[in-house]
């Protein structure tokens, strides 16, 4: 009997010893499982977070800019109600020296006006089709979560205006473009631009920011043929452009439109690719991109020479101007740069920096 009691006592003592151990083991197991669970719930919490962002203050009309300029950064302002007014305008312009083209534009430029907002902003978007337009138009903004990116809601005949509302849920640099049939033709004629949705707190500050957008153009005549050129549907379908240009013309970033910065300045390019067909191998000759927001999203790559920008996509590239001189902006698919116009320039002025670069000629 005693032994039984003793053995029982021993067992109960064992139990007494092992009980807390079991308890701790159980607790740790629960913690571990919880930790595993946290990641998915964290990401889903992020998604619903931006939807829950509340706007404050009065509604404000957004300031839009023509390329290569961009509106002022949003900084650390809170989300607000933003009114964006954009007009589609059909106008003849210069595609190259002595070569004209009937462009279809947003805001009168190719690419169209740059729109800048913040995640959580509630945007009231007005799209007007100029009364002198011949064709109907609409807009699809890649920053919109909703059917057609706004295309159905903004289909406007010449002289008409449409309004729709959307909330910017995702930060990033997004393309917008016309989506009226035939879509390829509307885009090929220049109907594209960029809308930047800055993250909470805004993008890190840099000294200079510029807006560049690549596009391919398909003309009846060959590259350089003078006079008014018409859109060539066969070449567009075959994806054999005559012109591949930055900012709507071979001189979009040349001559008096050449960009200019000073040594020591940090520079950011918001680069889009309107297509309609070609992907860009974006490179700045003589510079390395210190930071690249790949595909205009949130992931940052560093120390990149050439970054891929798909048709209908974008990228944000940053570098520091170190050595003075003229730097050439190209699509590194080089025959496009030298024979089709995918070439621009940025001039860096300031003191030499012989430690970084010294020519002995």
């Amino acid at each position: 009997m005693k032994t039984k009691i003793q053995s029982l006592e021993k067992e109960s003592k064992k139990m007494a010893v092992t009980k807390p151990v079991w308890f701790i083991a159980a607790l740790s197991a629960i913690f571990a499982l919880n930790a595993c669970k946290q990641n998915p719930s964290e990401t889903s919490a992020k998604g619903t977070d931006t939807e829950q962002i509340t706007v404050s203050g009065n509604a404000e009309e957004a300031v839009l800019t023509s390329p290569p300029l961009v509106p002022a950064p949003v900084g650390d302002r809170s989300a607000k109600k933003l009114i964006v007014k954009l007009e589609t305008i059909e106008k003849t312009g210069e595609l190259a020296d002595g070569t004209q083209y009937n462009f279809w534009t947003f805001g009168g430029t190719v690419p169209g006006s740059f729109i800048r907002a913040r995640v959580g902003d509630e945007i009231e978007f007005h799209l007007k089709n100029n009364e002198n337009s011949v064709f109907p138009h609409n807009i699809d903004l890649h920053a919109v979560n909703g059917p057609g990116g706004g295309a159905e809601a903004t289909f406007v005949a010449p002289g008409q205006e449409a309004v729709f509302n959307f909330k910017a849920l995702n930060p990033g640099l997004y393309v917008y473009h016309c989506a009226t049939a035939p879509v390829g033709m509307h885009i090929a004629n220049g109907m594209y631009g960029l809308i930047l949705i800055e993250p909470e707190g805004g993008l890190p500050k840099v000294d200079k920011e510029f807006y560049i957008m690549q596009g391919d153009f398909y003309t009846k005549g060959k590259f350089g043929e003078k006079g008014l050129q018409e859109f060539d549907i066969d070449k567009a379908i075959a994806e054999t452009p005559d012109y591949v240009v930055f900012n709507g013309s071979t001189t979009g970033l040349l001559g008096d439109k050449e960009l200019e910065v000073k040594t020591g300045e940090t520079v950011r390019f918001f680069v889009g690719n309107g297509g309609p067909n070609l992907t860009s191998s974006f490179h700045l000759i003589g510079e390395i991109f210190d930071r690249v927001y790949m595909e205009g999203g949130s992931k940052v790559n560093e120390n990149v020479q050439t970054t891929v920008i798909p048709a209908g996509g974008a990228a944000i590239v940053e570098f520091k101007a170190t050595v003075p001189g003229e730097y050439v902006i190209v699509d590194h698919a080089l025959f496009r740069a030298f024979n089709k116009g995918a070439l621009g320039k940025i001039k860096v002025t300031g003191a030499d920096n012989h430690k970084v670069y010294k020519s002995n000629k």
């Binding site: 059909e90 009937n102 009364e131 002198n132 011949v134 064709f135 109907p136 609409n138 059917p147 057609g148 295309a151 159905e152 903004t154 289909f155 406007v156 005949a157 010449p158 002289g159 008409q160 989506a179 009226t180 049939a181 035939p182 879509v183 033709m185 009846k220 018409e230 859109f231 060539d232 549907i233 066969d234 379908i237």
Partner: protein, 273 residues
């Protein structure tokens, strides 16, 4: 007593009914005064054609013979109509029948704009106005099928759709601007002896609103079971027909009361077959 009460009630109800009959608002009578028109029309012989949108892929649509105005209705012709039917003039038109840009360039009710030829096609008129004009001259608007069927002709062939250069030529004509200010017969007549089907103005058709290009044209390439549902069902032969896409997109973007600098019309008439 009760019976009297009911009789009186019934009488009252009767009289109320009569009163409301008298007080009832009669809809405004848009009585059209007929106008004569000397405008030549051309006979378009009936036939089969492959419609661009909304029909089963292999079926052909039959268009009966009909007459079509050789040119668009001009400012001068429309002015004649307005003088006989002032209820359609700029100051008197009911807002339901045309938006506020109706005849926007006309200085007054009966004054054609100075920088626009009287023989230029009349524009800034709504579908309702176009219909009223057509009725006043004893005609009607062409249907989309009729218009598209007659428009398949180039200068030589009644059906030029097999010619690959035809679409490119139309796209080229669509680049021209401000042709609504110039007199009609701006281009050589087509094989039906019809002028200016391309490159002058967009033209109202009787059933333009049956075209359902939503503006969300990325969906417009999918085949649909039902004829017109959230997008156009496009026959595969014509995905390259950008000119037709443009025309149908234009038709899908307008409403009957819309007016535009580049929108006018021409009339049609049954051939009585």
């Amino acid at each position: 007593m009760k019976n009297w009460f009911y009789i009186i009630l019934v009488l009252l109800l009767f009289s109320c009914g009569r009163d409301s009959g008298i007080q009832e608002q009669k809809p405004v009578q848009m009585k059209l005064t007929s106008v004569s028109s000397e405008k030549p029309m051309q006979k378009i012989d009936g036939g089969y054609y492959r419609a661009f949108v909304g029909k089963e892929s292999d079926s052909l649509t039959y268009v009966s013979s009909f007459y079509l105005d050789e040119t668009a209705v001009t400012n001068a012709e429309y002015l004649t109509f307005l003088k006989a039917n002032p209820q359609w003039s700029k100051s008197k038109i009911i807002r339901l029948y045309a938006d506020s840009a109706y005849l926007r360039n006309w200085k007054s009710d009966f004054e054609i704009p100075k920088d626009i030829s009287p023989d230029a096609p009349v524009t800034n008129i709504s579908w309702f106005a176009a219909k009223a004009y057509a009725e006043s001259v004893g005609k009607r608007l062409p249907t989309v099928d009729e218009w598209e069927y007659a428009a398949r002709a180039d200068e030589n062939l009644k059906d030029a759709t097999e010619d690959p250069a035809f679409t490119q030529h139309i796209l080229q004509l669509y680049q021209q601007k401000n042709n609504y200010k110039k007199p009609v017969k701006q281009h050589p007549a087509n094989a039906w002896k019809i002028y200016d089907m391309y490159g002058t103005i967009w033209e109202w058709t009787e059933d333009f609103s049956s075209v359902m290009i939503t503006g969300e044209s990325r969906k417009d390439n999918t085949t649909n079971e039902t004829l017109f549902c959230a997008g156009a069902s496009v026959t595969s032969s014509d995905l390259r027909n950008y000119a037709a896409f443009i025309r149908f997109a234009m038709r899908g973007s307008v409403k009957a009361d819309y007016t535009g600098n580049n929108m006018g019309f021409r009339c049609a008439k049954d051939a009585g077959e």
